[in-house]
Symmetry: C2
Subunit: 618 residues, 2 copies
């Protein structure tokens, strides 16, 4: 396409953005119009993409980080022949693939769900890392960002990561249209302000008039010829460009144009230009993923005497899984010596990624790698995964398959105190759509669950513990996701204690003490916190009449609430009592912490006695 | 103190860090030793602080962002005479004030809890903002950061905010000791790498040898004389400085020194230097907080016919509260036209803060302002508050009193789709220690709760809705926190529907439809999601035999789980059934979204019929 045609294509993208938003009577046409020329030049001149084969290994990857500009994306799809004009006009309606913000759940050309600002670039960094270090294919990753989202810290985590890794296969295009939702951005049209920041993080930058298609073309070419650094193309644009009623005006964010018909006319009317997007280069078979038999680590029950921390078992199992499966990768937030991903890193350095203390980028990188078909395990302290909650939420909207592992769960970590204690993580991960939440109590169980996670869909979370716990299961025991283990059981059970992780061992100790006093209680290890084993819980409730849950987590949203999942079918619920962390812990030894929180064996036994004898607590 | 004495003081701080960690047999002495000279010079020469009056309005504020270096902080307290040597040696033991990471819950000189890296500077920015724009007092805010935490995006959100606001009352000291937990940082001793980044964000920078006390003294003086910009003092240091066995060595993070007695000797033995910290200047009575009678907005039931969005009611109530109380401030994440903080901003521009799209800084600023005695309301979409989960978690550890308001809750927002829908927020906020979670369904209720929040302790969360809902309560109705409203009730009730927010109106509609068919059901508006109204729920359960919860939130951790809080005392639980958002929504109209999610009036009525007739669902 020549200059004139590119200009026409830009206008077509504007017209279609206006039309789609008008049909929906909602959406963000003005945010689309500012970036229309940037998109036109990319689509017609630089993107290499086979819309018929979105899984083509050599396809470039495009991410609309400013996801609210979805009309522009869908207009581009139409221009590329990927969707029809009829479908374009289904925008934002029930059943349409064209949601208000794009998601790969619905559209095969979308790499990651956007709509929470500041996430597209971090995920793009993950894909660019995959391209360089895993896929070894020369695709480019193009990320179109808004200027408003430059205020998000996640953008600078991503900039730091990309600069440090010399990701010259990554180009960010910043659509500096000066206006956020509510009014002007901090830096308005000061392109230098953005350029200085990217440069400081090691990027090459190009400043350009985002409505001069030839200048944009040259800027992209400069980005493509830049080696050793990622490039930021910083483009001066006007929001609502091309329609006087909205161009560069405040108060025009996120709403259809006041007079769409007039706007379309002002833009030169509808067009039907078709872009022949460059094919990606032929790509060789990309990835040899060696699959050897899985040789998980094995422990004998009771050995060693001091027990094994589940984080150690996780680390060893992940290393073994990495040997069996060449598609497994590990990422860590600079605490690999604590989470034990260091074992994987030692054996598989080529598939190991240090993300430093940047948990948003940690999760975003894993989302990007999963989008390229890799099976990531991203790990840090359970407490610090809360830093990436919004990324996890968006990953679920993407339908991304990622494994997240949080170590140092609960008060049981001891002296470090509450800032390092994961006490909200079960609640956070349970509430994520389609998630799986696993919380093992011994080494063999951990190893099995680490392997099982890899084959699941969606967000899978594994919670590990810092301190050693006894090995109570044999190495050949199986632990299906959604299952549980009944550790103590008799026909005389008067109560069921439901525990997971460290509290399983407290529950066993309590049960044995109670048994010595002639009080039989059942003990269930609910290692699968989501989904829960409804049948076993229901049966235990019916047979013993009362469930006592005990968990190293705050009272809300954790194991106690999870148990309720088994009892919401309308049938009568048994008596339910919860022991959980209700106070704010301080520093103390692990045993003192469990005691202070009232979740140790003694507390379990005391609650059980009270329930068996008097039926009511507190 | 002269150079020699300062040097001796630095050694004393090292010795005491080693001693405290040795007594505890845990902690981070090497991370303390790198910053000992930086701390010595600050304490003896520049900090203005009255340890006997931590509430002195003109006190400088010191934040240890690298909270794991707590031994250094406590050693400084000892040097200042604030704690005894005996107390120093209680470090990290049960019942001690000297936790592994410092928190203001226990120590009056700590401004904010740290221990999750990258949070001290953001909170410091909040305090510096308060100093400039609210307190109008010339205190300085000093923040000591580690180099590892520079990888956190939140640091650059803070840098951006401080640079843009020209916070020349803020000094960050970066202890560049080259080593993180697991190994070298990205930039090792490249001080320029950090300086370039801060400069790009508008900061003045000074690079210095962090063990040259005179050079450090000059650097601080330069910071104090810098106007119009915050200053970053970037100091080259050695981790474990002064003890050859650990100095600048990997693998020495977070553990006591191998031979503490020898280390103390190598450092010249114990000392007992006392620092006379500069007094803060005399300060006038700081803040005239006008308190006028609260004149909340009022609506008449049923008016206007189209209803009122609770976000509108929130905005108007907050503006009114701001008129009544001069200590109320509002912060927003660049969506004030959506959250309706714009009403407050218009009436009280001097107490209104635009945080742009940076939710971590949004919450951190509110924590900083709360530390200075202000009553902040920080607002953005409920979905985007997940971005600040770790800051909320840490704010709870601080015991900070902040109000967080999340708008655009649930699928009821309609066309924008799942990225903008708060569907995990109730779970997130319920699991925060000591939190209050409120979810109003009409305008008058919202206004009352907005006012009530201000007087509570801890983290208080209010969830508001985008669309209009009918006004069903009178303007004089009261809504105590921990209460509920029973909207439909009779002696013949065969079921209780428990709802909150938008689903209250669906529940009413369902109840009326059921009543027309001769099926009486009770309806409870559970506007206080945490704490819940146990008595009312228990009574309803006993009288009607079954509770059906319906919520615009994912199934886990929200209203359905909250109801269980009323039934964990060991007494029998009634039948419990939950309606919640179990699918991944797309774009559609609000009514279609509620229907698709199975939480509209029709779904409630259908579930109720099934329960009444057959006793079991699904």
């Amino acid at each position: 396409m020549d200059t004139a045609e590119l200009t026409q294509l830009g206008q077509q993208l504007r017209v279609d953005s206006v039309r789609a938003s008008d049909a929906a009577q909602s959406g963000h046409p003005t945010s689309s119009m500012s970036a229309a020329d940037l998109m036109a030049v990319l689509l017609a001149r630089h993107l290499r993409y086979d819309f018929d084969r979105p899984d083509h290994p050599a396809n470039d990857r495009f991410i609309l980080s400013k996801g609210h500009a979805s009309p522009l994306l869908y207009a581009a799809y139409r221009a590329a022949g990927a969707i029809t004009d009829d479908e374009l006009l289904t925008f934002r309606t029930l059943g349409s693939r064209l949601d208000g913000h794009p998601t790969p759940r619905k559209l095969p050309w979308v790499e990651t769900a956007t709509g929470s600002l500041g996430q597209g670039l971090p995920v793009g960094v993950g894909i660019a890392l995959a391209g360089k270090r895993l896929d070894h294919v020369d695709y480019r990753v193009w990320v179109l960002c808004g200027d408003s989202e430059m205020a998000e810290g996640s953008i600078w985590e991503a900039a730091e990561h990309a600069g440090h890794e010399h990701l010259d296969n990554l180009v960010v295009i910043v659509d500096v249209n000066r206006l956020g939702q509510r009014g002007p951005t901090r830096h308005a049209h000061d392109l230098d302000a953005y350029a200085r920041r990217f440069q400081a993080f090691g990027w090459h930058t190009v400043e350009v008039d985002g409505h001069d298609v030839d200048a944009v073309d040259r800027a992209y070419a400069e980005a493509l010829s830049t080696t050793g650094q990622p490039t930021a193309v910083i483009a001066r644009t006007l929001k609502g460009k091309g329609v006087a009623a909205v161009e560069d005006r405040e108060g025009m964010h996120g709403k259809p144009l006041p007079d769409a018909a007039e706007a379309v006319e002002e833009l030169g009317g509808p067009r039907d230009l078709r872009v022949r997007v460059q094919e990606p280069p032929a790509a060789r078979a990309l990835r040899s993923v060696p699959t050897r038999p899985l040789d998980l680590p094995r422990w004998q029950p009771g050995e060693p005497e001091k027990g094994v921390p589940t984080r150690d078992a996780f680390g060893k199992a992940l290393a073994a899984l990495g040997t069996a499966r060449g598609d497994v990768v590990a990422l860590d937030g600079e605490v690999g010596d604590s989470t034990r991903t260091e074992f994987f890193a030692k054996e598989h350095p080529d598939r190991s990624f240090e993300c430093y203390i940047a948990e948003q980028q940690l999760v975003a990188s894993s989302v990007g790698m999963a989008a390229r078909g890799w099976v990531p395990y991203a790990c840090t302290f359970a407490a610090f995964l809360t830093r990436a909650h919004d990324f996890v939420r968006m990953a679920a909207i993407s339908g991304a398959g990622i494994n997240l592992v949080g170590s140092h769960a609960g008060v049981a970590i001891g002296e470090d105190g509450p800032s390092q204690m994961g006490l909200e993580d079960l609640a956070m991960f349970r509430a994520v759509h389609g998630s799986t939440v696993l919380y093992p109590c011994d080494a063999n169980q951990t190893a099995r669950l680490v392997a099982a996670m890899a084959g699941l869909d969606g967000i899978r979370y594994l919670r590990t513990s810092r301190g050693a716990t006894p090995v109570i299961y044999g190495p050949d025991e199986e632990f299906p996701v959604g299952g549980s283990k009944t550790l103590r059981s008799s026909a005389d059970d008067r109560l069921t204690v439901v525990a997971a992780g460290v509290t399983v061992h407290e529950a066993i100790e309590a049960a044995d003490a109670l048994a010595a006093d002639g009080i039989a209680v059942r003990v269930i290890d609910l290692y699968s916190v989501k989904p829960v084993d409804r049948d076993t819980l229901r049966r235990a409730a019916e047979e013993t009449g009362c469930l006592l849950t005990v968990e190293d987590h705050h009272e809300e949203g954790g194991l106690g609430d999870a148990v309720l999942d088994a009892f919401t079918d309308g049938r009568p619920v048994p008596r339910l009592v919860r022991l959980a962390v209700r106070t704010m812990p301080g520093s103390a030894t692990p045993a003192e912490e469990l005691r202070e929180a009232g979740i140790d064996a003694e507390a379990v036994a005391a609650a059980a006695r009270l329930l068996v004898e008097t039926a009511v607590v507190r």
